[in-house]
């Protein structure tokens, strides 16, 4: 049995009268990439804040790296690194100064911090801008620096709260490559995202959060299977779907279906075979919710 990097059971949290998390259950195996998917306001950031000791839960049990986030905070902190939703970098300092500062604060000696800073500037393609103030950086550079700062010392569990929100496609892909590389080195990565493609690309396991609970978990494939199989769509000349028929996807089934339909549809009708995307899963799970499953 694999050890768990994160274990959450019966987690509750409310702000005033508003309940944000209500009886959340979750477990993330060590060394995996776990994506938490959910609409705005679903409780993603609150959950990350609880896991990273920033806020205290109202109830339930939360273990990170086997340590309790409420009673063993200091041990949890030695185990994690958090890259929050807003680039947590010091804008007045340069990239180099930011990295060295975090190195020293993390317990590295002065010379260790210097070596580590050079390594990270190279790895994250920030050598040219290393001595410029972060204020002048683009969004993508900030995010890269932010992630580099999280990796100054090796922490087994890395939290990334919406790591690519607001980035252009090129920067996003560059960041995905970095995240995949981190994962391949055996770290546990817990990320939140609104982008299904991101979850699909990066995660071993995806959990969908809605209304403060996990409404589904599984791999991307498992989740897609849960909303149903493939469908044959009939499209009119304007690419509008005029009819859908479920199918097993086999050649026999598709052929039989099309034969039945071929005489009853207007001329010019075209056919599309669609597999459910994570978008379909997401919409199904977060709009009319749990009864779909």
């Amino acid at each position: 049995m694999k050890s768990m990097a994160i274990e959450v059971s019966g987690l509750r949290k409310s702000f005033g009268k508003q309940s944000v998390l209500s009886g959340l259950e979750l477990s993330v195996p060590a060394g995996s990439v776990f994506a938490l998917l959910g609409p705005n306001g679903a409780g993603k950031t609150t959950l990350i804040h609880i896991l990273s000791t920033l806020i205290a839960p109202d109830g339930g049990k939360v273990l990170v790296g086997g340590y309790n986030v409420q009673t063993e905070q200091e041990l949890v902190k030695q185990h994690i690194s958090l890259t929050g939703q807003f680039a947590a970098v010091d804008e007045v300092l340069s990239a180099e100064e930011n990295l060295r500062m975090i190195g020293r604060l993390s317990g590295l000696s002065s010379s260790q911090s210097r070596t580590r800073t050079e390594e990270l500037l190279k790895a994250f393609d920030l050598v040219d801008a290393a001595k410029k103030r972060v204020k002048t950086y683009s969004g993508g550079m900030r995010r890269r620096l932010d992630l580099a700062i999280s990796l100054v010392v090796d922490r087994p569990v890395i939290f990334l709260d919406e790591p690519t929100t607001g980035l252009d496609t090129v920067s996003r892909r560059a960041l995905w490559d970095i995240i995949s590389e981190l994962a391949s080195q055996g770290r546990t990565i817990f990320l939140t995202t609104q982008y299904l493609e991101e979850a699909d690309q990066l995660a071993d396991q995806i959990a969908v959060i809605n209304g403060g609970r996990i409404v589904a978990t599984g791999s991307a494939e498992q989740l897609k299977a849960r909303v149903g199989g493939e469908v044959i769509e009939l499209l009119n000349g304007h690419d509008e779907v005029i009819h859908t028929v479920p199918t097993t996807g086999s050649i026999q089934d598709i052929s039989r279906t099309l034969n039945e339909l071929v005489h009853s549809v207007p001329p010019g009708t075209r056919v599309n075979i669609r597999r459910p995307s994570l978008d379909d899963v997401f919409v199904a799970l977060t709009t009319n919710g749990k009864e779909v499953l």
Binding site: H49, S52, T53, L54, I55, A56, E74, K77, Q78, I80, S81, L82, G84, Q85, F86, A87, A88, V89, D90, V92, L93, E97, M101, I102, R104, L105, S106, G107, L108, Q112, R116, E119, L120, A123, R133, I149, L151, V152, V153, D154, I178, E181, L182, Q185
Partner: protein
């Protein structure tokens, strides 16, 4: 490529504080406009009071000798008020979350700002005293009296800096922090800083004589120019320590509350 480095153990309190002090000093040096303002404004005020208002104010002696201690305090108050903005900036930026998830005492962020403010303001005070000497300020203090005066000024700066740090911690935004800070800066005007309090209406004298700034100014004035000290030194130190303790406790409390939302 992104190989790993493991620290032997978390950073010590000393290292943590030194790192944050270094960070805040860098911030101060790079915010050239604020630094210039912190030095230029008191110098301009001193010139204004000495040459423009000074002729009309009868302080029972050379006005420049009377007003310099007040200007020093005004300068210290103004200079430490930017701590509120610095602290508030940090608290509203994502960086505080990063510090708080690291195994360090994250209140050291605030301590760093306080130490930098102390350094900045002592420097500004030195400039103000330098310019004062140029425009005719003639202190008759002995070496010991200078040391004591600087001690009182340092305590005052420290007290006000912690007070402004606390304000920065409770303010909703850096702009609000700056606004609250501004209100406090009226205190020196309602003291014996610029005019002797016995020239004020009697109800105002009550306020002016019993607010914390007056004994601090009287102490510095007494030490530097030899006016009678009476009890003001005790009152000055007492007030400062009292406010310092309150501000420090208030800071710790609001740091926990704000940063922790616990």
């Amino acid at each position: 490529m992104i190989a790993s480095t493991k620290p032997a153990k978390p950073a010590s309190m000393l290292t943590t504080n030194l790192v944050f002090i270094g960070r805040s000093l860098r911030h101060s040096l790079r915010n050239t406009e604020a630094l210039m303002m912190a030095i230029m404004l008191p110098v301009m005020l001193m010139l204004l009071f000495t040459y423009v208002f000074g002729g009309a104010i009868d302080s029972g002696g050379d006005y420049v000798n009377y007003v310099v201690p007040g200007i020093i305090l005004l300068c210290a108050g103004f200079g430490s008020s930017s701590t509120a903005v610095d602290v508030s900036n940090d608290m509203t930026n994502g960086i505080i979350d990063r510090f708080r998830t690291m195994p360090i005492k994250s209140l050291s962020v605030v301590t760093g700002h306080v130490a930098a403010s102390l350094a900045r303001n002592l420097f500004a005070t030195a400039v103000v005293i330098g310019v004062a000497l140029l425009v005719g300020f003639r202190p008759n203090a002995s070496f010991i009296e200078w040391v004591l005066a600087i001690g009182v000024i340092t305590l005052f700066i420290l007290t006000f800096t912690w007070l402004f740090a606390a304000i920065g911690l409770v303010a909703g935004s850096p702009a609000a922090a700056s606004g609250y800070g501004f209100a406090l800066l009226f205190l020196p005007y309602l003291s014996s800083a610029f005019v002797p309090t016995d020239t004020m209406p009697s109800w105002l004298q009550g306020v002016a004589n019993h607010q914390p700034i007056t004994p601090v100014i009287e102490t510095i004035r007494g030490l530097l120019t030899g006016t009678p000290l009476d009890n003001s030194a005790w009152w000055a130190v007492g007030w400062c320590l009292f406010i310092l303790t309150l501000a420090f406790v208030w800071s710790i409390f609001s740091f926990r509350k704000k940063a922790g939302r616990r």
